[in-house]
């Protein structure tokens, strides 16, 4: 099968590599920024496009990967579905539940496979935590806390910095944890959120959420794009018979260069694994297309995650809890 990458930023490049690792051919790379498109295209000896529709409608393309800014996902999902292509869409699935619903309808109508990359479900540490919870190691879970984030992503002109497009750390980053909490502990009941979404003098976002699940479990989730540097994930799950903790700062490998070209150095923790979580989600996606099983995350799950993130931002605006 042949793959088209729509949106050749960091995630587009990463997914192109994962697709190639799965034995697929990357044949088309589209980006409004010509240089970005040709850079990824050159790596894979693919054709570069400025117009995404050209890549999507290219006859030799079987799978369309959508790694564009969130509000454009619906448009490209619909176009890919109409062209009969299978779809790998980066998370968040859409900027609103309504967008997601229309995208799902288009894929259903066309009979194509639509996958959304909620990759945290594939991270080894999160898989391991879910297994411990499911095995009852800590008894009945009562509370969990997930902390995720670091520096504000993207350069000064990046779409991430436009809250209308990205939704800030709550919508773009914490959506991983909202999804994982629901994946592991079932449906949410209500959500409360405080978030900064500051622009000036320094752009920073910091989001603090409490989500009550229908089974009574309380999830406290903190997302930060407010740190001067770095990236960190911490998780803690408490139950009636114990507790599980994870901290990415507790890494098996770390390095700090003595000199860098720009500015101060930073200790970078690393956690090498044989198969990356991105590779794993791609393998499930490809297996699904080939009729060998179903992925652990559905488009409906991804829509529900958007619904939760939307509810969080609504709560932040109202300063009251929102039923979800």
């Amino acid at each position: 099968m042949n793959v088209a990458i729509i949106g050749c930023g960091g995630m587009g490049r990463l997914h192109a590599e994962m697709a190639a690792n799965c034995g697929l051919r990357v044949v088309a790379c589209a980006d409004a920024v010509r240089k970005a498109a040709s850079s990824v295209a050159d790596t894979h000896k693919a054709k570069a496009y400025e117009d995404p529709m050209g890549a999507i409608n290219s006859k030799d393309v079987d799978i369309v990967v959508i790694t564009t800014p969130t509000p454009t996902h619906e448009k490209y999902v619909k176009a890919a579905a109409k062209a009969g292509k299978h779809i790998f869409c980066e998370k968040p699935f859409g900027r609103s539940t309504a967008e997601c619903r229309r995208a799902i309808a288009a894929a259903d109508k066309a009979g194509v496979n639509l996958f959304v990359g909620h990759v945290v479900r594939y991270f080894h540490e999160f898989e391991a935590m879910k297994a411990q919870v499911d095995d009852g190691v800590i008894g009945d879970a009562g509370w969990l806390k997930i902390y995720r984030g670091g520096i504000f992503p993207g350069d000064p002109k990046s779409w991430f910095r436009d809250y209308a497009q990205s939704g800030g750390v709550t919508f773009d980053c914490m959506i991983h944890d909202l999804d994982w909490a629901r994946y592991t502990f079932g449906e949410p009941e209500r959500i409360f959120c405080q978030t900064l979404m500051r622009k000036n003098p320094t752009q920073l976002d910091y989001s603090q959420v409490t989500m009550r699940m229908k089974n009574g479990v309380i999830a406290t989730i903190i997302g930060t794009w407010a740190h001067p540097s770095g990236f960190r994930v911490k998780a803690e799950i408490c139950g009636s018979e114990g507790m599980i903790q994870f901290d990415s700062a507790d890494a098996p490998l770390s390095a700090e260069a003595r000199e860098t070209a720009a500015g101060p150095t930073m200790i970078v923790p690393m956690s090498p694994v044989a198969k990356s979580p991105y590779q794993h989600e791609w393998e499930e996606f490809v297996a699904w297309i080939e009729g060998r099983g179903k992925p652990r995350v559905t488009a409906a799950d991804a829509m529900r995650a958007v619904e939760m993130a939307e509810a969080a931002l609504k709560s932040a605006a109202k300063r009251q809890p929102v039923t979800v």
Binding site: D140, A141, G142, W143, K145, R190, F192, Q194, T195, L196, R198, P201, T202, L204, Y206, Q208, T210, R212, G216, V217, I218, T220, I222, T224, A226, H227, P228, C238, G239, S240, E241, G242, M243, R319, Q320, P321
Partner: protein, 327 residues
């Protein structure tokens, strides 16, 4: 010689306060009163002082101040009786489980001209004092958001009996952080939302064992705080106080009691943390003793205790109403 008495050893912090008094030159633990006679006698032996069974006789003992470490609901009556006797008072936190009680205690002591302090020793924890200095220096600029925890193990006993404690983990573990933030930022709390949990110890506890709170302070500072009895019995230590400050000029993180050794003990088959930092209780008790000598208010006042109780009570109200409420 400054003579100080202790009223009740129901709260385990009394042990530390008694040890602090005994360690201070020019200070004498004058007497112990306890409504649990056996406990009172045992503690009097342990801390080499006398046990006085009768409350009036205790209050007539030659001394200038008392530390009240009874169950939460008993604070008011004991504080008021000590105030009547003209004694300076350091009251264990929470000052009281209700705003009505806490306010009455403040009023009574004010009218009697008595210095009333609330036992918030975290203000004397060196890492937390350093945070306040960093914030006060202005180097980090305006504080926009703070994420906090005050976790503990389940203390059991009267703490879990609402009739004596007035509430569970949220009653127990909200006031320290509420007081720290008021002190560090010089702002009052204006609003709170709270989810209460009771799934961690549901077979043994009637009360909440966790509160996940979202608060606002004057100027719109966004605060989350977890008050809990969530640390397992097998955990390294009693719990923690952690705070992450998101400021214009950067981020400040504190894990206030993270001055410790990790000890692997094969005999007990246990891994635990052995603290080596300065004892915050000593600073608290030293300030109280000097307040007694100078006949001034303790640095952490009864009003500070009242404000922290207002936050806690509002958190319980918010959960009852399932909405954010004003403080």
């Amino acid at each position: 010689m400054t003579k100080i008495g202790i009223m009740s050893f129901a709260h385990m912090h009394a042990h530390s306060y008694a040890a602090c008094l005994n360690a201070m030159p020019g200070v004498e633990l004058a007497a112990i009163w306890d409504d649990d006679v056996r406990r009172g006698k045992k503690m009097a032996r342990a801390f080499e002082t006398s046990f006085v069974k009768d409350l009036e006789a205790f209050l007539d003992t030659e001394m200038e101040g008392v530390i009240v470490t009874a169950e939460n609901v008993k604070h008011r009556v004991l504080v008021e009786s000590a105030a009547d006797a003209g004694l300076w008072i350091l009251c264990e936190k929470p000052l009281a489980p209700t705003v009505e009680d806490a306010a009455a205690m403040v009023t009574t002591c004010k009218k009697a001209g008595i210095g009333l302090g609330t036992a918030f020793p975290c203000r004397y924890a060196r890492p937390l004092m350093a945070v306040k200095e960093m914030l006060d220096s202005g180097a980090y600029g305006e504080v926009y958001a703070v994420s906090c925890t005050n976790h503990g193990q389940s203390p059991g006993g009267w703490f879990a009996d609402e009739a004596l404690s007035g509430g569970g983990a949220t009653m127990d573990h909200t006031v320290h952080v509420a007081d720290l933030l008021r002190w560090m930022l010089g702002k009052e709390f204006t609003r709170v939302y709270c989810e209460l949990g009771n799934q961690l110890h549901k077979d043994t506890l009637e009360t909440d064992d966790l509160g996940s709170m979202h608060l606002e302070m004057e100027g719109g500072v966004q605060v989350s705080h977890i008050a809990s009895w969530s640390r397992p019995k097998s955990f390294y230590t009693w719990g923690d106080v952690t705070m992450e400050f998101i400021c214009e000029g950067g981020v400040i993180n504190t894990d206030a009691f993270n001055q410790k050794l990790t000890v692997f003990d094969d005999k007990a088959m246990r891994v635990s943390w052995a603290p080596w930092g300065d004892n915050p209780d000593l600073g608290l008790v030293q300030d109280f003793v000097s307040a007694v000598r100078d006949k001034r208010e303790p640095a952490v006042t009864g009003v500070d205790g009242l404000r922290a109780t207002e936050v806690t009570v509002a958190a319980y109200d918010a959960y009852k109403e399932r909405k954010a409420v004003k403080i």
